[in-house]
Amino acid sequence: MKTPAASPHLDVRNVMWLLAAMAFVVAPHLPRLPYWVDAFFTLIVAWRAWMAWKALRHPSRWVMALLTIGATIATLQQYRTLSGREAGVTLLIVMTALKLLEMRTQREVTLSIYLGFFLVLTNFLFSQAIPLGLYMLVCVWILIGTMVGFNRVGSTPTLRERLKPSAMLLLQSIPLMLAFFVIFPRATGPLWALPIDSRSGMTGLTDTMTPGNISNLIKSDALAFRVHFDGPRPAYSRLYWRGPVMTEFDGGATWSVPPIAPPGGISYSRREGRVNYELTLEPHNKTWVFALDVPAEPPPGTYVLGDLEVRDRRPVAERRRYEMSSYLDYRYGEGASPVLLKSLLKLDERRNPRTIALARKWAAEYPDKRRLLQQVFQFYNREFTYTLEPPPLDPRNPYDDFLFETKQGFCEHYAGSFALIMRAAGIPARVVTGYQGGEVNPVNNELIVRQADAHAWTEIWLEGQGWLRVDPTAAVSPLRVEGGVNAALGPIGVIPTLVAADPLGLLASIRDSWRAMNSQWDEWVVGYNSEKQRQFFMRWGAPSVDWQTLGVWLIAATFGLGSAISFALFIRDLPPRREASLAAWERFCAKLGASGLARSPSEGPLDYLRRVTRERPDAAAAAEDITRRYIEARYGAGASREQLRELARRVREFRPA
């Protein structure tokens, strides 16, 4: 390779640009990193800026070594590891800062800029939302602008001269980027095992439930899973996707899954209404698979617990598909063991005393369980409201506080308090968390279930009837179960402050469009995987979608778009088309030249004509006509398109004997 030209010394302005670009890229990381990392990065960058500004000397090699070792030890101290998402990002940021501090040659600058591109990528480990994407686009713009600055040797570019070429490069790279994004074959799994915390968007249900944790989940638009039904889709109100079942109650507020999973092997007295469906589960790093009611047979790699939970044998760390079937009409568990049932009555007498007392009073009043349930539903139905922003509860007796004071709550308030009332009234009860309903995508008739559809309900055991699902939320807000969260809460539930001051509904409609855009983004951009890719190409009529086909497409796109861009760029550089009249005249001269009467370079048209007339009297008339037309077009009043065409025609027909 060629030896590089002597590197120009690092221009202060260029260094400042680079530092600013790096600060921009790192900024989104700062709030999630330990304070000392933020301070370290800020101080080092400030030091480097000061050094560049004042043309100070670089710190000695000893100082650099000390800083490097110190920062590595501090990172280890912080995370006990150097791998994993947080620790890795911390280490990368710390090392980038040190690289910035020590850089003095063009090569080191280049490396720092490339590190900047890496840091952009690390941001996507935490979020791939639209705003961050746009922000990072700006960062890349600035980083490329920095590259432009460092490659302007001999003169210092203005702001415009940095940002405009950079913008041009980015804009012109967009077609190729889009083509590659769509065509590049997507792998179905990771290349190597990922650390547990490596992915963003791992929101989802947890193995405990307290009032408040599901309502937090509900603010997320993230995809939980997608379902494709074979045959008709059951009504919304029957779509209870069962997840973790919570049988342990701490007496206060918290329900949790049992430490030892209940064994399988359930006897059913009725199983009807079979529904077949295909479920595509987003990664959530837990083993839960969400199934409707009573799963028929567990899909490969999964098993069913005694409480009808479906579990995968491995945590779902990447998107997985399950062929499932469920029975929606069922009866089971009539012969449950007394030991199990007794454990489902456990509560703490010292906490939530008012709730327990009320439940016992009702139990005494209504020995008939149906009457008792009716009474409880009436109680909820009368004064309670369903809201995403419930007031905080007394931590000691939260359900007392909820049932008798605040009377505002979300599904987990209702499920938790209802299960407590049931247990106090002597009815075995458990809390089931999962998702309810979903949203049908009219394009492919797929049911999309988001974190926002998270739900909690209860199951009670009745003598002679086995396990029954009871959803107290339905008593308060039937719409929740029939039409989803948004129908139940209206716009007020989610962004109350904004929408309350929006009589025209303008903000609400903006918010709705924004949400729609986000869900499209999540589905087609963030969620673009091998599956989506296959769908996309099938829709365009591609017979098969494999690596070879995509490879051919990739090459075709590269060449096609590459030539289109080259053409668009170079068309501007082509020498201007010669005037038509001149071209015709030159052809005329060439014809005469071929017949031995070449025009000398110094000869003007009229002089030439005189000579032609003298030497070739037979062609004189035609030559005079052409010359006259040429002079008129080029030096006279000009010529219209038709006149030019006429001139060209006459030249074409001109035959100098």
């Binding site: 030209a5 002597a6 996507f124 890349v140 490659n151 590049f184 992915r199 951009v525 673009y528 861009i565």
Partner: protein, 315 residues
């Protein structure tokens, strides 16, 4: 050895008809382009980004990776285009004395937009950078230290650019057969031209030595500034010109045989020094070296003619 071999292979691959008739337009087939070392590092970076994106299934990671791939592709076109259609012409190459630095100039003209960071260099020497703005010519001078007197050939020049992002090196070769005349290095020890080399016809006129003038006369336009009597001017006696006695006598012949020196080059150095001295004093002088005889005269053109004769002696 290897470097020489490389040079000759490169000469053979990129051979151009020498000298080329100006103006030379850098058309498509004259421009070569290859990635720089930075470019290869960039490719490695992009590959790493791709692997990370695949592994973590980061959609925006893919977007970033492919944006950078596209950017590199477009950057190649831009780098190439930064050089394309430039019009080159040979520029001035002023004569220098041996030991000084000759400047080989070419002028660059752009038919369209401003071309930033256009560099010109000679073989692997340091490059000279310039921005070429439209409407007009930009002169780029490549400095070359003139070691020996004679005719210094610039040889083939490389015109290249890495703008805008330094990932690619686009270059072209141009050889206008630029030459600069290198005068012999004047010998400071040579002193003044010897007195007796004056022509015999002028004998008898008193000469008081070159450094002393013997009369002041009114200034005439064209008199050398060195000869102006600045002290007199300071005394407000008006603009006067010093007339040296040596000048008063008419002609001086700078003769090959008078220059006492061990070898040819040293002799030429002595003569060069004498030419400079004589010209400085406004003396009319002639030059007589084997094969060349320049009759006495004065002035810049005459001086150049004499120095050129010395520079090109026996070449």
């Amino acid at each position: 050895m290897i470097a020489n071999l490389r040079q000759s292979i490169s000469d053979w691959i990129f051979r151009a008809r020498v000298p080329e008739t100006p103006p030379v337009t850098l058309v498509q087939r004259r421009i070569f382009i290859l990635p720089t070392r930075q470019g290869y590092t960039f490719a490695a970076t992009v590959l790493l980004l791709l692997v990370a994106s695949i592994n973590y299934a980061l959609a925006l990671g893919f977007a970033l990776t492919f944006t950078l791939v596209g950017m590199a592709g477009v950057a190649m076109l831009h780098t190439w285009r930064n050089l394309a259609h430039l019009k080159l012409r040979p520029g001035r190459c002023d004569p220098v004395f041996a030991g000084e630095t000759a400047q080989f100039a070419i002028t660059v003209e752009t038919p369209s937009t401003t071309r930033f960071s256009i560099a010109v260099r000679r073989r692997d020497e340091e490059a000279v950078y310039a921005d070429v703005a439209p409407h007009g010519m930009t002169a780029v001078s490549v400095p070359v230290v003139a070691q020996r007197r004679g005719l210094l050939r610039c040889g083939r020049l490389e015109i290249f650019t890495r703008y805008p992002v330094g990932l690619f090196h686009a270059w072209s070769y141009i050889d206008f057969d630029l030459r600069a005349i290198v005068y012999p290095r004047p010998d400071p020890a040579a002193g003044a031209p010897p007195l007796h080399s004056r022509s015999d016809a002028e004998e008898g006129i008193p000469v008081a030595g070159d450094e002393e003038f013997n009369l002041l006369r009114a200034y005439r336009p064209g008199d050398a500034p060195k000869l102006i009597a600045w002290k007199a001017l300071a005394r407000e006696q008006g603009l006067l010109t010093k007339e040296f006695s040596a000048m008063a006598s008419s002609e001086l012949w700078l003769d090959w045989n008078e220059a006492r020196a061990p070898d040819v080059e040293a002799r030429l150095s002595v003569l060069a020094q004498w030419v400079i001295q004589a010209e400085r004093f406004g003396q009319s002088y002639g030059l007589r070296i084997p094969g060349v005889s320049i009759p006495p005269a004065r002035g810049e053109a005459h001086r150049t003619r004499c120095l050129e004769a010395l520079a090109l002696f026996a070449q």
